[in-house]
């Protein structure tokens, strides 16, 4: 965050190499805001079942506003399930059943009168595999604004440009906005998906392992981007890459097999002085 983003790919690579070496240092740098920033999402006793299998066990967590919260843990630990509860994407799975509360600024999103469509307009999402629509770059970014009925009231061109700039993609695509989003490279596609998610200006952005399908250079660009996004948005990111969590997040939640939240604290504390021995085992690679 202290370092401005650069346009040149080579500089960014160099920067990311430094980061790999100096993980310890960057952890202490990343936690810029003290604990106690205001809570945007308050999760209480959240459990999720797929048929009879419990995927999440009574998870409670207060997610701070305009910070990066990382969810880490081994495969099948329920971190993606947790993420998908926050914008009710689990509603799309017939077999899923959710207990507990998820309060977005005090409003339980699982209340009967809450429309998941309206909720998802305030909580954007970026997925593991880049999934741009088979439409032009412009139409991809404009899609959210259009379905949300905002496209007529605003300068759409300006909003598309703003979103692409925020996603650090504008300079690469500004002359080819009519080109299909699928013609971009994997890393560019993922930044396009981020631009698409931020174009309608949500309050929260959920990211489900957004860099796991990308090469190291593209990954470091996404990580820089996440840093910048946290100035304006609350970012909640699932990752199975612990170095990534250490580099980019302010808070870290550790899930372990069975859908249990084992520890949730400042990233620095989790990585340097975890309270739970299982977390220490996981972080040092003895488990998972």
């Amino acid at each position: 965050m202290s370092q401005p983003t650069t346009d040149s790919a080579t500089e960014e690579t160099a920067e990311s190499d430094d980061r790999l070496i100096e993980t310890e240092v960057s952890v202490s740098e990343t936690v810029t805001q003290p604990a106690g920033a205001s809570t945007i999402i308050d999760v209480g006793d959240l459990s999720v079942y797929y048929h009879d299998d419990q995927a999440l066990r009574s998870v409670s967590m207060e997610i701070p506003e305009r910070q990066v919260t990382a969810l880490i843990g081994p495969s099948g630990c329920g971190k993606s399930t947790f993420l998908r509860c926050l914008n009710r994407m689990n509603d799309l799975i017939d077999a899923a059943r959710v207990d507990g509360t998820v309060e977005l600024l005090g409003q339980n999103v699982y209340d009967d009168d809450v429309d998941p469509v309206a909720l998802r307009r305030r909580i954007g999402m970026v997925f593991q595999e880049p999934n741009p629509f088979p439409k032009s770059i412009y139409d991809n970014v404009a899609y959210g604004l259009r379905v949300q009925g905002k496209a007529d009231d605003i300068d759409l061109d300006a909003e598309v440009e703003r979103a692409l700039r925020s996603a650090a993609l504008w300079d690469e695509v500004k002359d080819q906005l009519d080109k299909s989003g699928l013609e971009l490279s994997g890393g560019q596609q993922q930044r396009l998906c981020i631009a698409r998610a931020i174009a309608p200006d949500p309050e929260v952005i959920l990211m489900d392992e957004p860099a796991s399908a990308l090469d190291p250079v593209a990954t470091s660009k996404i990580e820089d981007l996440i840093d910048d996004l946290a100035e304006e948005y609350t970012v909640i990111i699932v990752t199975h890459n612990m170095q990534q969590a250490a580099r980019i997040s302010d808070k870290t939640a550790v899930f372990l097999t069975g859908g249990e939240l084992v520890e949730f604290d400042d990233t620095q504390t989790i990585f340097e002085n975890p309270a739970d021995p299982r977390v220490e085992d996981y972080i040092t690679g003895k488990f998972g």
Binding site: N87, M89, L92, D94, V117, A118, L119, R120, R121, G124, M125, F127, E129, N131, P132, F133, P134, K135, Y143, G144, R146, V147, Q148, S180, L182, C193, R196, A197, P200
Partner: protein
Amino acid sequence: MSNESTDLQLAGGEQSRKARERLYRYIFLSCAALTVFITTGIFVTLTVDAVKFFSTVPPVDFLTGTTWRVSRGEFGVLPLVFGTLAVTVISALVAIPTGVLAAAYLSEYASARTRAILKPGLEILAGIPTVVYGYLALVYFTPFLRTLGINAGTFNILSASILVGILIIPMVSSLSEDAMSSVPDSLREASYGLGATKFDVTIGVVIPAAASGIFASFILALSRAIGETMVVAMAMGLRPRMPSTATGPFGIPYIQPMETVTTSGQTMTSAMIQAVEADAAVSPVVGQSLFALGLTLFVMTFAMNFLSNRIANRYREEYQ
């Protein structure tokens, strides 16, 4: 077993397997060649007999004549082309919207259980013999049109065409549903994640991404409508007619659509049935007209396939 005997078995298997593989290859090849051979054969036969026909009836008279009356030696194909086009257009108006929306319901809205019941149901519709549709048109649908206040003749284009439309709905819906179901869920998730409604996802993402498959279903269904014979022979009448016209202001003639579709007409296919029956009794040229009509039908279907492919390529949104 010793190593030696295992080696021998391996060596022996190699020879016979290669021979078998060669044999399979030739069996498959001959089946593939057969289809090409038959298609070419049909085309050549059609052309040869059509050429004989055109040595008696000048092609210009055939293509521009507005009267098809075999008994008087009048072979103008236009009324038959008009009949066929009328059936194709009206049945498309029935089948395309209904079929695509039914497919969208099955793919995007229906629960797994509903789909398990509805989809086979729709496919059964495709298995009903076409003669049943012809009977329904004649005995039930035409009287039904009359109760709606439409002055339909006993045999009429509208009733036959709507039933042909119903007949081809399953082709459109079944193939379109397959195309929509193969759109990856990641695109749906992306769309729902942006606050799209089910309708937005269906219209804005799924249908465009499935467009090439949906267009393919139109092509197949409309080719079927063009070639459909039984329903039109039963319910549309056997009178080749040009569209009804009236004279408007300043003596400008115009087509009266309702007049046209509520009276009888004839398609190329049903004219071909008549030609087959009349063959020996009248003259060889009537029999040969069969092939000229067949060739015209072939060209029409081919042109439509070509055009649809062009349109599909223009509008499709290819996903990975």
